[in-house]
Every structure is written in structure tokens, then in C-alpha cells.
């Protein structure tokens, strides 16, 4: 018996957890720990960073077999594939391993691989959003579009830096400043980048109150910031208008970009549930239970794709840097968008509210209010900024939908790789 125990193979496998621990895994576990620390102790987006951090730790402990990344290198023992490979109809590529599904593999296939989870989250976001302030002054919707131009700035930078097209798209979409949109686009076009992209997107979103104010001050003069905006022009809209709005937006945007249906459709569905006022129970479920459950599974699975081999590369550093530029770009473009609008319109707006044209809701609007208040206590920008902020949500989903439409068209035309 003693020779069995002292056999190298036996020791190696019984204490496999220790013997299979690589330096990459250790670094990733530390990164997972940092994410947990940021979520728990610093209160940065805890609802997301905690599951992501824990998922990262789980997946990087060796031999847990909870999830297999990168997913192209594994074939799962599920019925069809197994039969096909045993009859030789599905030849295994070199380096591909046939494995059993881990529980996180199941979650991955259930909601990340097919982009379901981000869409479920959108129902909740729609149910939480009040488009009232936007409807009172619809032209500020343009600012919600201007705030998306950080996406294109980042796209160009990423391409110049040598990222390939699909990577560049996924990095650029951090500029939508919207977690579910980023995860949706990334899982569609380049799932191997899910970890770094979602970490970048969610960390910068939680840092919006720190990142935005200096940029906003840089892009405006004190005089511009001091401008107060009256609420007299804002006549309340009727419930009928609020109820019809999501339906109209759905029809218009999906006629323009049908492939955006999973994002825009679910966002507007959630909002219609809210405004129709007859589905109280569904609204509650969408914004509480469904959103919480999805957030947990989404965070856990995304965190567990943060495999050391994939994550610990120069690429990740580049993604973090470009993501930061994306959000700064959004802020600047939003502010300048507002200045341009002022040239053309009679009723002037405070350029600061342009900075709220991103989808980080409602942080961006609060930041705008605070910066405005610092410059002049008599300026109360909150509601105007809220309007722009909800416009930013429509803008980011719309920009993402249009981009998906164009990219899939180019793929069909074989001008870019699948």
C-alpha cells in the first residue's frame, strides 16, 4: 500500500490542486481577489464584480473542470457530437479534447454563447427606465447619439494599434458604456475577449463619477457650465405618449436594423411592460428577480472565462487602456455635440448635459448635476441630464444594432472574416 501512496503519479493526482497550479492561475486568482475586494470593500458595482471575481477564482483553480476555455479547443460529451465523432463524421482537430461539461459550461451554453443573458438584462433595464424626461424634450436624443462616438474613436485607435477587425469592434463597444451591450457584441463576434472586455466595461462604468468630471471641465468654460436651464419648457407628457413610445421606437429601429432585435426588442419590451401599467407583476419580476438571477449567472460565467492564458496578455492591457479612452471620448463627444446643437437651435442648453449621453444610468446624469451645481448652485441639471442619459441608452443600443447589421452584411459579402 505504501508504494501506491508514494507513487509519483498518485501524489501528483491526489494533490493535483497544488501540483497543477500554474503561475498564470495564481495571478488570475489574485485578480479575482482584487475584483472581489473592489466589489465588497470599495462598493464598485458589487452586484457584478462579486460574481465575476468569484467566477474567476473558481475557474482558475486547477482541475475543477467547471468550464473549458477557449471553447474552440474542446468538444463536449453531449449526445450528438459524441456519436458523430465515434463514427468518424466529426473528426477532432489537432489539440482538441473531448471532455464532460462542467456546470459553468452549461451556463455558458445557456446564456453567453447564444447571447441570451444580456437580452434578459435588457428587459429589466427597460422596465427600470423612465423615458419621461426624454419625451419632454425629444431633441436631446441626438446627444444620446453623440455620446456614442467614443465607440468609433476607439475602433480607429484599436485598428491602428494592430488589433484585428473583430477584436477592434469588441473593444470599441466598451464606448457604448453599457455592460449588456458590450457582452452581447463580444459574445457574438469574439467570445475569447469576454473576460477583459466585460471587466473593462463594468469597471469604467463604476468609475464614471471619477472619469467624467475632469473631462467635462476640460471641454467647457466656466461660463458654459454656469448656464442654468429652465424647466418651464418641459411640459409633462401624457401616459398615452409614454406607452406608445417604446412601440414606435421598436418598429422604427427594427425596420432600420433588424438584427438589433434581440437588444432593442427586449429593452423596449421591458419599457412597454412598465408604461402599460397593467403588468405590475411582470415589471417587478423583470427589474428584480430576472435581473438579479441573470446578473448572477452572467457575472459568474463571464468571470470564469478569465483563463490565465487568455487574460494575461498584452492585449488585455491594451483593451483596458482603449476602454478608458472610449469613455473619455464619449464624454468629450457628448459635450461638443451639445455645443454644436447650441449653434443651430434657439433654446440653448448647458453643454454639460451632453456628457450624460452614455448609457451608464443614472450615474452619468448625477455626475452632470453635480458638476453643474459646483459651477453655479442655481443650475439644476438633473432632469435634463436624465433625459439625455435615457437617450444614451437608446443611442448605445441603436449604434450597436446598426454596427451588427453592417458587420454581418460585410461578412456575408465575404469582405471580412466570419
Amino acid at each position: 500500500m505504501l508504494d501506491v501512496i508514494t507513487n509519483q503519479n498518485f501524489l501528483y493526482n491526489v494533490f493535483g490542486g497544488f501540483t497543477h497550479l500554474t503561475w498564470q492561475a495564481i495571478v488570475m486568482i489574485i485578480i479575482g481577489g482584487i475584483l472581489l475586494y473592489l466589489g465588497v470593500a470599495k462598493d464598485y458595482e458589487p452586484l457584478l464584480l462579486v460574481p465575476i471575481g468569484f467566477g474567476c477564482i473558481l475557474a482558475n483553480l486547477p482541475l475543477t473542470e467547471l468550464i473549458h476555455v477557449p471553447r474552440e479547443l474542446f468538444v463536449f460529451h453531449d449526445g450528438v457530437r459524441e456519436i458523430l465523432s465515434s463514427t468518424g463524421l466529426l473528426p477532432l482537430q489537432e489539440g482538441v479534447r473531448l471532455v464532460d461539461q462542467g456546470i459553468l459550461d452549461v451556463l455558458y451554453d445557456a446564456g453567453i454563447g447564444n447571447e441570451l443573458f444580456p437580452c434578459l438584462l435588457f428587459i429589466g433595464i427597460g422596465a427600470m427606465t423612465d423615458f419621461g424626461p426624454l419625451l419632454q424634450n425629444p431633441r436631446i436624443l441626438l446627444l444620446g447619439g453623440a455620446g456614442q462616438f467614443g465607440i468609433f474613436l476607439t475602433l480607429m485607435l484599436a485598428l491602428v494599434l494592430g488589433y484585428d477587425k473583430m477584436e477592434a469592434i469588441c473593444i470599441a463597444i466598451i464606448g457604448a458604456c453599457d455592460g449588456p451591450t458590450s457582452i452581447y457584441i463580444t459574445s457574438k463576434f469574439n467570445p475569447s475577449l469576454l473576460g477583459p472586455i466585460s471587466v473593462a466595461a463594468y469597471s469604467y462604468m463604476s468609475l464614471v463619477p471619477i472619469i467624467q468630471p475632469p473631462i467635462m471641465r476640460l471641454c467647457t468654460t466656466k461660463k458654459e457650465r454656469e448656464m442654468s436651464m429652465s424647466y418651464d419648457v418641459l411640459k409633462p407628457v401624457t401616459q398615452t405618449t409614454k406607452t406608445l413610445f417604446p412601440v414606435v421606437v421598436t418598429i422604427i429601429t427594427l425596420l432600420i436594423a433588424p438584427v438589433g432585435a434581440p437588444l432593442m426588442g427586449t429593452l423596449m419590451l421591458g419599457n412597454f411592460l412598465r408604461e402599460s401599467k397593467v403588468t405590475g407583476k411582470l415589471v417587478k419580476s423583470a427589474e428584480n428577480e430576472i435581473a438579479s438571477i441573470t446578473t448572477l449567472f452572467l457575472g459568474l460565467t463571464v468571470g470564469s472565462t478569465m483563463n490565465g492564458d487568455v487574460f494575461l496578455t498584452v492585449k488585455t492591457l491594451g483593451i483596458l487602456a482603449l476602454g478608458f479612452i472610449a469613455i473619455c471620448g464619449d464624454t468629450a463627444f457628448g459635450v461638443f455635440g451639445a455645443k454644436i446643437m447650441n449653434i443651430f437651435s434657439r433654446v440653448k442648453i448647458n453643454p454639460l448635459i451632453g456628457a450624460a449621453g452614455i448609457s451608464a444610468f443614472p450615474m452619468a446624469a448625477r455626475v452632470v448635476h453635480k458638476v453643474g451645481c459646483e459651477a453655479n448652485p442655481q443650475t439644476y441639471l438633473l432632469m435634463h441630464a436624465m433625459g439625455v442619459n435615457t437617450g444614451g441608452q437608446i443611442g448605445s443600443v441603436l449604434a450597436a444594432s446598426v454596427m451588427i447589421a453592417i458587420i454581418t452584411t460585410l461578412q456575408i459579402m465575404q469582405l471580412i472574416p466570419m
Binding site: Y231, D232, P362, A365, R366, H369, C373, P377, Q378, Y380, L382, M383, M386
Partner: protein, 71 residues
């Protein structure tokens, strides 16, 4: 001349932070509102003395509501 301080936006009035007879300077906070889950201070538009308090805490206010008047 009396100055009416209206609620700057629709929301819930959390508290009125001055009493009748208080002297306030321009940009002193006079009340606290809650809108969109954020607390917002309402600041005095000019120097003056609080002449009357016209709104109660924990009620919903909108831009037509006068919170306090200043003399």
C-alpha cells in the same frame, strides 16, 4: 421684494432646512429634494430673510410648487 423659491424639478421634498425669520445668503441651501434617488439641495436665489414656508416635508413637489418665500 419677496422672492418665491420654487422646486427646481419634480421630486419629493425631504426637508426644509430653514425656519421663518432665518437670514439666508445667495446660494445657501434652503431645502432638500429627492429626485431620481438622488438628494438635491435647493439653494437660495438671492440674499434675504425667510418670510414663509409653503411646503411640507415628505410631499411631492414640482416646478409650480413654492417651497419658501424670501423677503
Amino acid at each position: 421684494m419677496s422672492v418665491a423659491v420654487n422646486a427646481p424639478m419634480a421630486g419629493k421634498l425631504l426637508s426644509v432646512d430653514v425656519k421663518v425669520g432665518d437670514k439666508v445668503k445667495k446660494n445657501d441651501p434652503v431645502a432638500t429634494l429627492e429626485a431620481m434617488k438622488m438628494e438635491i439641495k435647493v439653494f437660495a436665489p438671492s440674499d434675504g430673510t425667510v418670510a414663509s414656508i409653503n411646503a411640507e416635508a415628505d410631499t411631492n413637489v414640482d416646478p409650480t410648487t413654492v417651497i419658501v418665500t424670501l423677503d
